[in-house]
Assembly symmetry: D2
Homo-oligomer: 410 residues x 4
Amino acid sequence: MNFSYSEKVVTLQKKVINFMEEYVYPNEKVYQEQLKQQKTRWSDIPPIMDELKEKAKENGLWNLFLPESEYGAGLTNLEYAPLCEIMGRSVIGPEVFNCNAPDTGNMEVLVRYGTEIQKKQWLEPLLAGEIRSCFSMTEPDVASSDATNINTSIRRDGDEFVINGRKWWSSGAGDPRCKIAIVMGKNDPTAPSYEQQSMILVPLDTPGVKIERLLPVFGYDDAPHGHAEIVYENVRVPAENILWEEGKGFAIAQGRLGPGRIHHCMRLIGLAERALEDLSKRVLSRTAFGKKIAEQGVVQEWIADSRIEIEQARLLTLKAAYKMDTVGNKEAKTEIAMIKVVAPNMALRVLDRAIQAFGAAGVSDDFNLAYHWANARTLRLADGPDEVHRRQIAKLELRKYQSADLAAIH
Amino acid sequence: MNFSYSEKVVTLQKKVINFMEEYVYPNEKVYQEQLKQQKTRWSDIPPIMDELKEKAKENGLWNLFLPESEYGAGLTNLEYAPLCEIMGRSVIGPEVFNCNAPDTGNMEVLVRYGTEIQKKQWLEPLLAGEIRSCFSMTEPDVASSDATNINTSIRRDGDEFVINGRKWWSSGAGDPRCKIAIVMGKNDPTAPSYEQQSMILVPLDTPGVKIERLLPVFGYDDAPHGHAEIVYENVRVPAENILWEEGKGFAIAQGRLGPGRIHHCMRLIGLAERALEDLSKRVLSRTAFGKKIAEQGVVQEWIADSRIEIEQARLLTLKAAYKMDTVGNKEAKTEIAMIKVVAPNMALRVLDRAIQAFGAAGVSDDFNLAYHWANARTLRLADGPDEVHRRQIAKLELRKYQSADLAAIH
Amino acid sequence: MNFSYSEKVVTLQKKVINFMEEYVYPNEKVYQEQLKQQKTRWSDIPPIMDELKEKAKENGLWNLFLPESEYGAGLTNLEYAPLCEIMGRSVIGPEVFNCNAPDTGNMEVLVRYGTEIQKKQWLEPLLAGEIRSCFSMTEPDVASSDATNINTSIRRDGDEFVINGRKWWSSGAGDPRCKIAIVMGKNDPTAPSYEQQSMILVPLDTPGVKIERLLPVFGYDDAPHGHAEIVYENVRVPAENILWEEGKGFAIAQGRLGPGRIHHCMRLIGLAERALEDLSKRVLSRTAFGKKIAEQGVVQEWIADSRIEIEQARLLTLKAAYKMDTVGNKEAKTEIAMIKVVAPNMALRVLDRAIQAFGAAGVSDDFNLAYHWANARTLRLADGPDEVHRRQIAKLELRKYQSADLAAIH
Amino acid sequence: MNFSYSEKVVTLQKKVINFMEEYVYPNEKVYQEQLKQQKTRWSDIPPIMDELKEKAKENGLWNLFLPESEYGAGLTNLEYAPLCEIMGRSVIGPEVFNCNAPDTGNMEVLVRYGTEIQKKQWLEPLLAGEIRSCFSMTEPDVASSDATNINTSIRRDGDEFVINGRKWWSSGAGDPRCKIAIVMGKNDPTAPSYEQQSMILVPLDTPGVKIERLLPVFGYDDAPHGHAEIVYENVRVPAENILWEEGKGFAIAQGRLGPGRIHHCMRLIGLAERALEDLSKRVLSRTAFGKKIAEQGVVQEWIADSRIEIEQARLLTLKAAYKMDTVGNKEAKTEIAMIKVVAPNMALRVLDRAIQAFGAAGVSDDFNLAYHWANARTLRLADGPDEVHRRQIAKLELRKYQSADLAAIH
């Protein structure tokens, strides 16, 4: 297990750090300002974003996420991890480098399971940062933590598939550039539990696709990205839009979620590092009860625990990345499940301590803490709630003893 | 320590419960809808509010909060507790009964420390629910957890006081009906630490008072209430606007914060009860992995821990109320500090479990959980952060041993 | 819900406090020394114990625990609570007042379910403090947290019952004065689940009763009390030794465990109070890094959290006692389950903080902290593990909504 | 940062695992039995120990701990970590391989700072496993968490040093083979704070050295190892017994504690792994409430959290080892402080869950859980309490910002 960074990665890391300092952090407020000045928060993308994307391309900091693919930068997951972490320090960061969710996960799916035509039509403009995509899986009417509950139907009808169902939390669908959804549904409710589902490509301008509303997260609209509730009503797409083949929805989901999850974790580590940095600076700069807040023992415990938790989360994430690279996403599933539990909870604790240290300023928008917190909170639910991952980890642990002599506890 | 409810209280409790069921809960969405339909979210109060207030007055459910005063309903803190808890179940509840923060705290100040003229001018319209008020204490430039840090100056100049300073988190100042601020500042920086401060009444239409912006809380604007940043620039008010007398700001703050804090705690218990109710219904109504979510052991632990924590927080709050009633707010300071730590943290845990049980729906606005959570989060900071209260509790505990034989640990 | 103490209780409380100060605390070390000087730690009871018991009788502090019975002091559970708490501050305290486990629980059983002959033979010498008793329920071979797992057989054979089985954690059976066991077993494995069990009185000198060993708890032998593993091999007792009647074992257990559990909780509150007192004195008397340890913010948080947790646990225990007194043990089952979870966990946290504050001295026997901790740790298991109680609390909570409209989450 | 194991390490790991399975685990009870059969628990070492040591030597599994030294096996800290972890799974394990505390730490001191004569006399028999040693630092009369509090005097008198003081928790001094103590004391109370202390070699048979008693840990005597309280009364040793030179006591302590601490952490990870294994087997083999305990969601959360916490602690320990190997113990101090907080707390949580899963069996001596727990509990205090390490971590974190622009929170 070698976590050393190659010279290539060290160079890229420096470049990403410098880019963030020079271009991203100073433009976070600009982005928000431009967003406010538009007709609505959904009507267009703040122009600064395209400028930043151009800069990132010029600097060779583009599509760094794709391992094992001719399309990407040729980085392994382990190599991508320290870069993704830095991008994740800013909410606008990942998009600048074309490394944002859910597009990276969707692009991974297209690389792995897409036909040449599908790649031409959707992967290429996604890689170019020209369009964006969403992932339509969760449904409001069922406990979607159990994916077998999913109800949307994808029914074959001649050369077409007909899609009917209601989805929500299709994140990114609020973006005017979002052109394509990957929709998960059931094509055959009579098949074995994990072969009933399919995934299919649905252009958002297909008749019958209706974005009913954009859902807030703790009061934030996440514009212009947005979390959409979408109704698919007799939506017809050509049969060749199916991904891989019918009945493979679950298999694709398993493949997709590994990289998607680890990217989230990397970004959360970045968010947490930034929060700890903010916390440290704040408590060094303010005085209460006759001494710097940084000298309060309680605050020092917050700082120490934060440092400890971040370090541990990062190391476990690197281990997961290493396993994905060396034995594959499937074999790495315990590690992926572990970081999916660890990283959001760690980030929430660090952010909460930072909020407390900032006082009321911490819950406002003068700093990023509250927004980052809300963001991190969704990740205890998105891509599977903590409880489902913990159960999975326990089952894999218990499996080790399935043929053990249980009486032999020494 | 008698926590039994008198017949009067039992009757009022039933009335408040029924009122909430009949009028308040069904109008929460109406209120939000009316708010959206106005020109801006700050331009007016949703008309349903006045209708509900009239109903509450008609039902004799008005100004129930004021103990020991001819103005109120003659209830003790202990008697008010179970009523306040029920009102607190809805964010619009307290205002309906004219029992909302920060007005109740401000009215308590006026009852205790106001002159007859001050009462006539400000207390009476507040009691009538005609105007609203704000409390201007926290400042953006200093750690306001240490009130001696407060910088705003209140300088005597002939028959007037001149106020200069910047305040924020003056909650309620966004409300078009808000007419009066109680401002805390320093009149004499050379006096002993706790005698430098004064409180003064400043009508919001006084020249030099400028609301610069309204601060969000985790993405929520809390309109039309709002959390204002206010600049006081050479604001002149008549000398008789001083509360009590110069140098008494700290003493008033101590007196004011007791009731204000316990009211917050009562409401938080109500919020938590409602969240536990919501959680329970939700997990009974959804199925995952082949059984009702309510049958999952992990979820049952959430429910049990929530019930345990709510019960304990309520009992401690009742004890604090009982002590305030029997030995006074000052003697009850340990208990008040304890519930100020306990109640928000308890509510946050219960709400967080409920959010987790609701899945992604929990972070949206389809239910109240996320908004209530944001609300409760501010209460780990407002009226003193947890850390300051814990320190106070510890000091009072340690004081018990100041003349003890420390070697005699038996 | 009236938690006020009557004059009678206040007087008793003072008497118990004084008695503890004068006689019990100073003799804790004496008791341990006398124990060491005996041939074995199990051969006899340190003579100081009988002296103290005589003193307690003389002072009218004897058998204070029995509510609703001509045998006791006529105190309700609520009245007994503050007295039991003080007794519980010392591990030798409860026995001094004849209020120790498991005898009080066993005496309650005999009062409620015993025949006149049984009372004469066993209850009276127990009340007189002449003999002691044990409760033989838990079995080593099954998960006894589920009482239906219990395997010991109690088979009718003519005028006798024949008992066969292996029990452990029959606490108190190491005591040379222990004369009688209440044994739980199955008389009819074909009956409905909760009617298969019986309880029966088994004198320890009956042929076939064999104490195989005395189990340690975290290295402590708890001599001369002791936790016995007992084999019952073809043990024959007269049929009239049955308690209540065949098949009532479960019902008696339910009745017995309520009072037994709440007594444990009261004592744990006493232990925790004493630990907090010790912690406070210790940190006031030692200096590190240039200031008293009591001035460290982290230590102050320990003290504050301890005070908060003790207060809450005590109030909940009082509420449980109040409900037992007013609506009966069965109706109070939620409250009893709640305190059974709360009190041991609270005490463990407080004790752990005290241990940490004492440094290495805390894990030794120079102070009582480590021993008390071990003691408290068993109470997360004895009389049902936390997890079983939490499940029970959740089920009772969910039952509130069994006929509710689950869609109506307002 | 390369955590991959070389072939050499993989081979050693297999050998240690096999050795533990074949010789150590099966002899744990034998060791305890032999200890009981001796005249006293302190009179001799159970003979099985020497047999096992011979076996280990024969297998080339001896003194694996010493990095950078001709005396050891030539393993780095990183290479030793996985081996030490496995040894640590058994309390008797480390001694079998001559890798036990406090001898490894003391041997490191002698290797680094010892003169040739000192090495000849003490290091060589220690390396041979013929004698044992203790470390006499902590004092009962002061808060030893602050090492500047240490009071013992080491006064020069001609060609000798005269030592006066009282020490306790000199672990290992109970062992009849323990021949030498490293004593820390003050030679010059007027020097700068961190140059007042010296360390000196004191043979235990020197006149004036008196072991007053052996301290228990949660009821365990840890015989024949033992934790001694030692009085040094006018103890005279030759001047050449000083380690390094006068005034270097603190510097040596810093150097010594790094390796000592990380070894403890490695062993704790082993203890925790074994506890999780035991827990898993136990819950797979027992049934309650109609299903295997392993199927309970709550128990599954325990397993998952344990796996997560163990993995993270191990990775952080490896990182610390890696830094010690590559940049030195001093540069690795943040990482060492972090694992010193993480590992004991992690092990305590895992062990506590295992105890809970075992029910009452868990607190007894039928399994190792309670004893391991007590052992782990001391390690939140030994070599510095958690709070001191956290403070150190915070200070190092805050130091990063000492020349930062504190207003620039982006």
